[in-house]
């Protein structure tokens, strides 16, 4: 593990953005997330790592209540964003999801133009009053998504015609367009080639300036490269959570150690 370019960044001073207490998630009778407690810092990239099937995606999806769209899924416990319980009765999941953006494993642009892909979120949430405002939002989001230069001449070409890496950055820009403060990413690079991956990783590092980013990854190198905090999940439990540097160089739990050294996974 000595080739990891772990960068020490002091983020402990940041405020807590998301706090989860005693979270349980069930799929029918399957207990997928067991009693997870975690405090995720503002303007920080937090990586979720762990063997596949350990519940990383499930936990991530309970942060923007995407689990509500699965009939058999049930979430218990307390998840707060900025101190507000997101499972409270007066929280509208639809509005929550505009504030907590999500990027998926496989790039999933809508079969519409690049412009319409970005404009869709702002349109349904009424963020732009005029066409000029919308143009501005689209440009700003595409710039933040680090893809503006590549698509500015073909905003009305279909989004599905872009390369995989461009599509994924388009999806990140699409998520940014609704002005979220949290971005959830579920293995955003697993369908991309190495060059596209490094472009997206670079983008994630920039996003940290304005957003709280939570990224699920199966690549420990990636976790080490982009994140400041790492949480290691195993069989539905949050085994260890701490500064990325510490987790990779000095894991406390034997399960973390064996995962990092490649013995379980």
């Amino acid at each position: 593990m000595d080739d990891l370019r772990t960068v020490s960044k002091d983020v402990d001073a940041n405020n807590t953005k998301i706090s989860a207490k005693n979270v349980q998630v069930y799929y029918g009778d399957t207990h997928a997330i067991k009693d997870v407690n975690v405090e995720i810092k503002e303007r920080t990239v937090t990586a979720f790592i762990g063997p596949s099937g350990c519940g990383k995606s499930t936990f991530l999806r309970s942060i923007n209540r995407m689990n509500d769209t699965i009939d058999i899924c049930r979430v218990e416990g307390d998840i707060r964003i900025d101190g507000k319980d997101i499972y409270d009765r007066d929280v509208d999941p639809v509005q929550l999801r505009a504030r907590v953006g999500m990027v998926f494993q496989k790039p999933n642009p809508f079969p519409k133009s690049i412009y319409d892909n970005i404009a869709y979120g702002p349109k349904i949430h009424g963020l732009a009053k005029t066409k000029a405002e919308m143009d501005e939002i689209v440009e700003k989001s595409l710039r933040r998504g680090a893809i503006w230069n590549e698509v500015k001449d073909r905003l009305h070409a279909p989004g599905t015609g872009l390369s995989g890496g461009q599509q994924q950055r388009l999806c990140i820009a699409r998520a940014i367009a609704t002005e979220p403060d949290v971005l959830l990413m579920d293995e955003p690079c697993s369908a991309l080639d190495p060059i596209a991956t490094s472009q997206v990783e670079e983008l994630i590092d920039q996003l940290r300036e304005s957003y709280t980013v939570v990224i699920v990854t199966h690549s420990m190198q990636q976790a080490a490269r982009v994140s400041q905090k790492t949480a290691f999940f195993h069989l539905g439990n949050l085994v260890e959570y701490g500064n990325t540097d510490d987790i990779f160089t000095n894991p406390k739990d034997p399960r973390t150690e064996s995962y990092i050294s490649g013995r379980i996974g």
Binding site: M66, V94, A98, G101, M102, P109, F110, P111, I124
Partner: protein, 458 residues
């Protein structure tokens, strides 16, 4: 006796299978490596017997009747058939056959009784012959197939060759049937076009085909312009589609996206039942329920309504097409990848927004394909319109008037007196040909679109 022949064939197949299989297993147990596993040796023998012998039996059964009849008729005393027409000859043959089967009416002439006796005798000889030939063939092939068993014999390839031959035969049958139907349509259509010019048929605006076939009939003088007929078809089709599309689509969207599991589990089977209702039942639903209802409503509103309306026939046809469109739309919506749905939901779109803005546009090609197939069904639908649409070819676009359709006209043209040198009868084939061409074009379009959208997500 025929049953016996089939029994022999069946037994021979099983015995040959067992024999060859045993022989092959024996070779293997003797320590040699078989090219094909023993099961294939058995199958090879089975197919070697089954296919040719079955063909022989079937051919025999088909030809036996004709051969025996010819022999009987030529063995009648000289001069009996002199000066008789084909119909009378057939009558004598039928009489002989019925005497042979024991049904004697009145006092038949002695030569007929004698012929009947010869007839029964010949039939018996024939079926005995069939059994003998079957048995001999089976035995011969069984010995031949058994002699083939050896370690190197490629039984698997043999079986595959026979099976693929059978499959080729079946597809050839299907293709030739289609070609035959189209060819006979085309042939009769050309005959029709010799009597009525193509331009009159395609562009004429008057359709009065009930011309006399016999001189003493009172009928119209005849006009064969198909425009009013096809316009009637189009009007009814439009009515049907206008009703079927919104109901079918909305029910599919509801069932696919919004309905709780319990509702879905009840509604889907109900829609399937709707798809299974025979069209004749829709037909009397149209005349007995829908048409009177439209008339009453029209009377109350003071709108003139014909007794048979395009609206009644088209409306009921629309109901018939609902399950068709809804199942296509359902498939198309389900085929939209879950990732797209999640993408929209994660942006904070509501379910309705997700359906309308993302799922529906993505599913449109599939839905359009389904709608086009529904259109071609509506155009070809016969029973409902025969019962509920009119017979008079009015050239009108008003759905409250009586119109007639291509299929209705085909049916009425072929009912009653027909004769194949008369434009009235031949017109049915011309209409059939046009119907075939129109639905073919629509189907090709529809299948293209359906195929294109299938590729879209792979």
């Amino acid at each position: 006796m025929t049953t016996l022949a089939f029994a022999i064939l069946l037994a021979a197949c099983m015995v040959a299978y067992a024999l060859n299989r045993r022989a092959a297993t024996g070779i293997r147990d003797g320590g040699q490596r078989l090219h094909s596993v023993s099961g294939y040796h058995g199958l090879f023998a089975l197919l070697m017997i089954l296919v040719p012998v079955l063909v022989v039996i079937l051919l025999w059964l088909v030809l036996q009747g004709t051969v025996v009849n010819t022999l009987i008729m030529s063995s009648l005393p000289d001069g009996t058939l002199d000066g008789l027409g084909a119909g009378q000859v057939d009558l004598i043959l039928a009489e002989i056959q019925s005497i042979a089967s024991g049904r004697v009416f009145g006092e038949p002439e002695p030569w007929k009784v004698a012929a009947a006796e010869r007839f029964s005798g010949m039939l018996q000889t024939a079926s005995l012959g069939l059994v003998l030939v079957t048995a001999l063939l089976c035995l011969g092939i069984m010995v031949f197939a058994r002699s083939k068993v050896s370690a190197e014999f490629r039984a698997r390839q043999g079986v595959e060759k026979i099976v693929s031959g059978l499959m080729i035969f079946c597809s050839v049958v299907a293709i030739f049937t289609t070609i035959g139907i189209v060819a006979s349509l085309a042939f009769e259509t050309i005959k029709f076009l010799r009597l009525v010019p193509l331009t009159e048929f395609l562009f004429g605006t008057s359709w009065e085909p009930q011309i006399p076939i016999r001189a003493d009939q009172i009928a119209s003088t005849g006009a064969f312009g198909w425009i009013p007929v096809i316009v009637g078809t189009i009007v009814i089709t439009i009515v049907a589609i206008v009703i079927a599309i919104p109901i079918g689509l909305l029910s599919a969207i509801y069932l696919n996206e919004f309905a709780p599991k319990t509702v879905r589990s009840v509604c889907k089977p109900v829609l399937e039942v709707l798809a299974g209702v025979p069209t004749v039942v829709y037909g009397f639903f149209a005349i007995l329920v829908v048409a009177p209802a439209i008339r009453t409503l029209g009377a109350q509103l003071g709108i003139p309504v014909a007794p048979n309306t395009a609206l009644a026939a088209g409306g009921v046809m629309g109901i018939m097409l609902v399950p068709f469109i809804s199942s296509f739309a359902d498939d198309a919506l389900s085929a939209v990848p879950r990732a797209l749905r999640d993408g929209a939901l994660a942006l904070g779109a509501t379910r309705a927004e997700t359906v309308m803005n993302v799922l529906f546009p993505a599913a449109i090609p599939g839905i359009v394909g389904g709608v086009l197939l529904a259109v071609s069904r509506a155009i070809g639908e016969t029973m409902i319109v025969v019962m509920a649409a009119g017979l008079m070819a009015n050239l009108t676009l008003n759905p409250l008037e009586s119109v007639t359709t291509v299929t209705v006209q085909i049916v009425t043209l072929l009912i009653g007196d027909t004769s194949f040198d008369n434009p009235k009868t031949l017109a049915a084939f011309a209409l059939g040909m046009m119907l075939f061409i129109v639905t073919l074009i629509i189907n090709i379009f529809a299948l293209r679109i359906v195929r294109k959208y299938r590729e879209a997500y792979d």
